[in-house]
């Protein structure tokens, strides 16, 4: 057990010190490419021999970003722009970003205006009608352009073999992440909520190969421990992200175990499967087009809603917590449906607003406490 805690601490060390990680790779002569949301073909960065570096904002107030965004924008975009404007990210050789929601579209333009000369934007255009051959074709054409831009930013040529190596690596890594989510969820007495989050967060600040090596060891160690829910209540988290220190602490204090999640930064990302055959760009494109059950991706039947209920049922969750990223349209359009689907299924559900720039979470504390009572 002591060994597991040591392993977890290593993840925490990385998760809590992204700047140190960035310096480390740059000092080692690596190019580092920022990777902003969502579901971009990050494998290209890996295949170019560069280090992908997650850019999902940071805790704190938006200051310089206010010149671009009014206050009613999500903190991921506000704070990521802020990090560019205040030079936190100057060592990046590029920033890869999708335009899958309206705020991201504005973000890409503001990024180019404020930071583009120092940190070029690698714009990733993805279709919403992903189910048709035309949607796939569009993604393939778009990813070819992304590949060129990545090559340019990394000063490297990506060959198909290297790209397939990266695809295989990412498939393995995603699989290991899915396994970790399940192992950790069943062992809340060993892996706390903040630790679980750190294991995931660390993957955003290091090459996947390094993360996978650490993760494999951790998963093995966890497998050797019997599942034990202790006095923890099994819960599903739904939303974009969870890693707000206060929120993580409150989840832990309320003895909540995340048995599964529907978070864009976590399991929605880990759900992608990419074929290891054929043309690698087409494989990546098909991987994206095959994604679903997501507020950000066009979902004509609103499968996302049922997916959350199914996750709860399949994992024996006693409740669903929607961590609603403030000012996030896609999530706000889905949240009421999820709430009522949970109600219909007899699963308690609560919506808690989160934002990287919020200073205190007193209301959330009360919400967590009363929700905890419902789980008994």
């Amino acid at each position: 057990m002591a060994d597991i805690q040591k392993q977890l601490n290593a993840f925490t060390e990385i998760a809590q010190n992204p700047a140190k990680q960035l310096d480390k790779y740059v000092d080692a002569g690596k190019r580092v490419i920022g990777v902003a949301p969502y579901y971009t073909p990050e494998e290209l960065v890996d295949a170019a021999g560069a280090v992908p570096f997650g850019v999902w904002g940071m805790q704190g107030p938006a200051d310089e970003a206010r010149q671009y965004f009014a206050p009613f924008y999500c903190s991921i975009c506000q704070m990521s722009l802020e990090m560019g404007l205040n030079h936190t990210l100057d060592k990046l050789s590029g920033l890869m970003c999708s335009a899958l929601c309206d705020t991201l579209k504005g973000f890409t333009q503001n990024w180019k205006a404020g930071n583009g000369e120092r940190i070029p934007l690698i714009f990733v255009s993805q279709p919403q009608n992903r189910f048709s051959p035309a949607g796939l074709k569009y993604t393939v054409d778009s990813y070819k352009e992304v590949k060129e831009k990545v090559q340019e930013c990394c000063g490297a040529i990506i060959d198909d073999d290297a790209l397939f190596d990266s695809i295989r690596l990412y498939n393995k890594w995603r699989k290991a992440m899915r396994k970790f989510i399940s192992l950790a969820g069943q062992r809340p007495t060993v892996v706390s909520v903040p630790q679980r989050s750190d294991v995931i967060e660390a993957s955003y600040f290091m090459p996947k190969a390094e993360h996978l090596a650490m993760l494999k060891d951790l998963n093995e160690a966890l497998e050797a421990v019997d599942p034990d829910m202790g006095d923890f209540s099994p819960v599903v988290l739904s939303g974009i992200y969870e890693n707000i220190p206060d929120i993580l602490r409150m989840l832990q204090e309320n003895r909540i175990s995340v048995v599964a999640d529907d978070l864009a930064k976590e399991s929605r990302t880990f759900a992608m499967e990419v074929s290891e055959e054929g043309d690698p760009i087409t494989a990546l494109a098909a991987g994206f087009c095959g994604m679903g059950n997501d507020s950000i991706l066009y979902d004509p039947k609103k499968n996302h809603i049922h997916h959350v209920v199914d996750l709860a049922k399949e994992n024996g969750a006693k409740g669903v917590i929607i961590l609603l990223a403030q000012f996030c349209d896609p999530e706000e359009f889905d949240a009421p449906f999820i709430t009522s689907a949970c109600e219909d299924a007899g699963i308690p559900c609560v919506t808690i607003g989160i934002d990287q720039s919020t200073e205190t979470y007193e209301q959330a504390r009360t919400q967590f406490e009363s929700f905890k009572d419902l789980l008994k």
Binding site: Y68, S125, P127, A134, S142, Y298, D299, P336
Partner: protein, 412 residues
């Protein structure tokens, strides 16, 4: 405004009245079609109108409905109803009004009723909010949803991959609509609809270009009222005729030195953003008092969609405002400013429209730098009355006018 209304009541043959009647008739036609047992749809304003028009389908437009509801005073009630259903007040007020209407199936006081749909047509070229909203309508009403996805364009021009992707979706959408409604696509009719749409677009562009005259023969706010027909009813012959009539009227006004702008035109401005429908009077009065006429809006050129072939037709739908990159967005505004010979730009930071408002501050800075004109922003909302402060607006407009006055003095 009141004066104009009086004139229109007296003389119902004016172009303004004709244009308004076209918009009103679309609602009645949809009711009639529904009564005949035809399937009717709700349609996003920037969905290619050529498709329903060619198929002879009757569709109505939730965005226009929401604007009308807001202008007639029920925006707040409808938004609150939607929030009562669990939706955040952060969401676009048009979408909240529309989701409320889908739940209530009528307005509180008949502000703008419309028949309930049998299908919904969505196009996300103006925002992604659109497809979430339409997903919800489709789910709530249990009816089919047809979506043409036009991804945001980071480049200045529309490239081949986008054109192809849009074209494939055109074909899919037509097929789905044929299946749903039993109507058949007719290429000859399509050609005719395209030709009429071109005629309407040309007439719209020409009508809007009368703003370029100094003084302008029109109150620029008038264009907000005509816009819906220019966008949604482009393919109808009567729209082309109405805009041609409007051109003739403006031409006559130029000859007669008359204008629907009733005070001396001290200043000419760009009004950027959607109108604050619940506060049309409150937003137009301070401008009128200062003699600041709107002689430029992005709508003028943006919705005068011209194309010579179907390729250009596809591209036109990728070039609507909100689908274009910052550089093109700025160019569209600067062109409008130059044509309209403006002395300043007033930018609406519209709480409802995240995409638009997200690039507005940078757009404003560029316009200010490039054209050396004052640019002032105010906070508002296209339909939720709770997001506008008359006091803030008045102060901002005052400051804005002062700078324009000073600039004018310096120039004299």
């Amino acid at each position: 405004m009141a004066e104009q209304e009086k004139t229109q009541k007296k003389d119902h043959s004016g172009a303004k009245y004709v244009i308004r009647a076209i918009a009103a008739k679309a609602y009645q036609d949809a009711y009639d079609a529904k009564a005949r047992g035809e399937k009717v749809g709700w349609c996003a304003s920037n969905f290619p109108q050529e498709i329903p028009e060619t198929l002879g389908l009757h569709v109505v437009y939730p965005e226009n409905q929401a604007a009308a509801i807001a202008a007639r005073g029920a925006g707040g009630t409808m938004c609150e109803h939607c929030e009562g259903l669990g939706f955040s007040n952060d969401l676009c007020a048009y979408s909240r009004i529309s989701m409320a209407y889908a739940d209530l199936t009528k307005c509180p006081n008949g502000e703008q009723d419309m028949p309930m749909p049998d299908f919904v047509l969505c196009c996300d070229n103006i925002c992604d909010c659109m497809f979430k909203w339409y997903e919800n309508l489709s789910q709530k009403l249990n009816i089919p949803l047809i979506m043409i996805d036009i991804p945001y364009n980071d480049k200045f021009e529309v490239d081949e991959k986008r054109t192809e992707y849009i074209r494939a979706q055109f074909i899919d959408a037509i097929k789905q609509l044929e299946d749903i409604t039993g109507k058949k696509w007719d290429d000859d009719r399509f050609k005719k609809v395209m030709a009429i749409s071109q005629r309407t677009a040309r007439a719209w562009l020409k009508a809007a270009s009368y703003c370029n005259y100094v003084p302008s023969p029109l109150n620029g706010f008038d264009l907000f009222n005509h816009m819906a027909v220019a966008v949604c009813a482009r393919g109808k012959e009567e729209s082309a005729e109405a805009f041609e009539q409007l051109c003739a009227e403006y031409e006559q006004s130029v000859k007669d030195h008359k204008s629907t702008w009733k005070v001396p035109e001290e200043h000419r401005i760009l009004f950027e953003g959607i109108a604050c429908w619940p506060y049309l009077r409150a937003t137009s009065t301070p401008l009128k008092e200062a003699g600041a006429n709107v002689t430029a809006t992005v709508y003028a050129n943006a919705f005068g969609v011209l194309y010579n072939n179907t390729n250009e037709l596809m591209q036109a739908y990728a070039n609507v405002p909100n689908c274009v990159n910052l550089e093109r967005a700025v160019k569209n505004r600067e062109d409008a400013c130059l044509d309209g010979k403006v002395d300043g730009a007033l930018i609406h930071i519209n709480r409802s429209c995240k995409l638009w408002s997200s690039i507005a501050p940078e757009m404003g800075r560029r316009i200010e730098n490039d054209l050396h004109i004052p640019v002032v922003m105010f906070d508002g909302d296209q339909a939720d009355p709770r997001n506008f402060s008359e006091a803030q607006y008045d102060t901002r407009v005052q400051g804005f006018v002062e700078v324009m006055n000073n600039n004018k003095k310096k120039g004299e």
